[in-house]
């Protein structure tokens, strides 16, 4: 039973160390993803903030990492770091169901030696210091880039497309050039107008711009010809309006 307690304690100590390691790894991942999204001005997913995406990825990585680390546990890790326990721990582990004098003597011996063993002996100091340093550096870069607004111009790119939405096409680089009217509408056709005049009133909307057109070349006449059943009636109405204006 004493041996059980010792082995459980050592495993717990191992898990504690790896909890710290996995936490640091996931923090580094979170900060890295978040910083990348910010700098590249990427919207990771529609309907979710970049912070949420980073946190989700980091949490998933943390859980996977922790489980993977926990599976690597064996007492040899302690033996490597504590030469006084070399071969004793695994012998005790492999013989823990025995109750012989020699086994009991071994367990007593182990109890004495393992009393001083703690997680400190298996903490990879340098690795943890390096990771803490990296967390600090990433945090600083994140804060600095936020203040200075160091990011590429806004993009419409989206890593995770909106579910059910249409995929938006990105604008491709192309050569653009203005075309003249004739290339758009084709060659002008001559319109014949005979002794009839029409007034046009064209209303425009939108921004007011000043356009000037220059016309060069031969003087031409633009005449429009109207035809149809309502011409006589329209002429009569025009005469009436003219007379009415004259009388005013």
């Amino acid at each position: 039973m004493k041996l059980d307690r010792i082995l459980k304690r050592l495993k717990l100590e191992f898990l504690k160390v790896n909890l710290i390691q996995a936490s640091l790894d996931s923090i580094i991942l979170f900060l890295s993803i978040n910083l990348t999204f910010f700098l590249l001005n990427i919207k990771a997913a529609a309907g979710a903030s970049n912070l949420m995406v980073s946190a989700t990825v980091a949490t998933a990585a943390f859980l996977i990492d922790l489980v993977a680390r926990a599976r690597t546990y064996n007492v040899e890790i302690y033996e490597e770091e504590n030469p006084e326990l070399d071969e004793i721990l695994r012998t005790a582990r492999d013989n823990q169901d025995r109750n012989s004098i020699a086994s009991q003597a071994l367990f007593n011996d182990l109890e004495e030696r393992a009393g001083q063993v703690s997680a400190d002996s298996i903490i990879p100091d340098r690795e943890i210091i390096r990771k803490v340093g990296l967390v600090g550096a990433l945090s600083l870069v994140t804060v600095f880039s936020g203040f200075m607004n160091l990011r590429v111009p806004e993009q419409t790119a989206q890593i995770i497309p909106e579910i059910g939405g249409e995929e938006k096409k990105t604008v491709q680089d192309r050569d653009y050039q203005l075309k003249n009217a004739s290339s758009i509408t084709g060659e002008p056709t001559r319109i014949q107008a005979e002794a009839r005049e029409l007034n046009f009133d064209i209303q425009g909307s939108g921004e007011s711009t000043e356009r000037s057109f220059t016309f060069s070349g031969e003087t031409g006449e633009l005449s429009l010809e109207s035809s149809g059943d309502r011409i006589q009636e329209n002429r009569r109405l025009a005469e009436e309006y003219s007379l009415a204006i004259k009388d005013m």
Partner: protein
């Protein structure tokens, strides 16, 4: 629970002290050769037989006799010669006449002791050598159609001389496999030899008073205890891999049997106990690999031609596994 554990730890400590006492007592007579003494004690703790190889005059007989005295075992010595008959070892039926009857009774041979030293075993004929097989493995001898159990504990220590090979009958592989270890004795160092000379030239008969450290029943308990020394799975697997690797090594004609795997684990447990450790270490396996494997493997013709030694190959295997 706690009291019981403390008791067990105390028992273990006392056991280690006893083994230290045995070594101390033996060192009153034998100078140096700590490794050899340790291996002989390990073999005794494992209930195994041992083959000692050395040049004459190295104190093999003295060592075995001293150890048997310290452990409180009956000791007998057999000098093997080409005309030694199996019955000279096992014993024979003789006619015993009394006033009322005449019967055949079994006269026990020198094999009926706890510790038997067979000097220059390779001088005995194969027939006589094979008479020792049953004693070594089954702890019994058969004479006629009657089997007789040997005393418990029983150990057979055999010696052979590596120099004189003429007129000898090399032990067959099957018989060599019955020996748990083959231990080679080296010449002592200068200081050690000076000490030996000093001891054995100062008195007419150098025979220091030796204390019997343990009794026969205690020894049997120690043998049981040896098997309880805990070993880690990976160390056990490594020992097995070492033995397995002797079977497909290019320089070896034949590798060691599974009995070698058993003996390495047992030997490692005994060494751990002798070293005062409460668990088997890889160093125990490494130390025991050589004496346990060297007589169980055979060099290939090519390797022999290249002058390789089995010890080099064992070392190479233990280093790579």
């Amino acid at each position: 629970m706690i009291v019981g554990s403390v008791d067990n730890a105390e028992k273990y400590r006392k056991l280690n002290d006893k083994i230290d006492d045995i070594k101390d007592e033996v060192s009153k007579v034998i100078v140096g050769q700590e490794d050899v003494v340790e291996r002989v004690i390990a073999s005794i703790l494992c209930d195994g037989n041992i083959l000692l190889e050395s040049n004459p005059g190295m104190g093999k007989t003295k060592m075995i006799h001293t150890i048997s005295e310290v452990i409180g075992l009956d000791f007998s010595r057999i000098q093997a010669t080409p005309d030694l008959m199996p019955s000279d070892i096992t014993g024979t039926h003789i006619i015993e006449e009394t006033e009322t009857s005449t019967d055949f009774v079994f006269q026990k041979g020198p094999i009926f002791a706890n510790m038997v030293l067979v000097d220059e075993i390779n001088r005995a004929t194969p027939k006589t050598q094979s008479a020792l097989l049953e004693a070594m493995q089954e702890k019994q001898v058969t004479v006629g159609n009657q089997s007789y159990s040997l005393d418990n504990p029983f150990f057979l220590m055999a010696t052979q001389n590596p120099l004189e090979q003429e007129g000898t009958y090399p032990l067959p592989e099957a018989q060599q496999d019955r020996f748990m270890m083959k231990v080679k004795l080296d010449y002592p160092g200068t200081d050690e030899e000076r000490e030996i000379v000093e001891r054995f030239t100062s008195e007419l008969e150098f025979s220091p008073e030796l204390n019997q450290v343990i009794s026969k029943p205690s020894l049997v308990k120690m043998q049981e205890f040896t098997r309880e020394v805990p070993i880690a799975e990976d160390i056990r697997n490594r020992a097995i891999t070492i033995v397995k690797n002797t079977r497909n090594h290019e320089d070896l004609d034949h590798g060691a049997s599974p009995r070698a795997s058993i003996q390495i684990i047992l030997g490692a447990k005994a060494r751990a106990l002798i070293q005062g450790r409460n668990h088997v270490s890889n160093s125990d396996v490494n130390e025991m690999a050589e004496p346990i494997l060297r007589h169980r493997i055979g060099l290939s013709f090519q390797a022999e031609k290249e002058g390789k030694q089995v010890e080099d190959i064992i070392e190479e295997i233990t280093e790579t596994v």
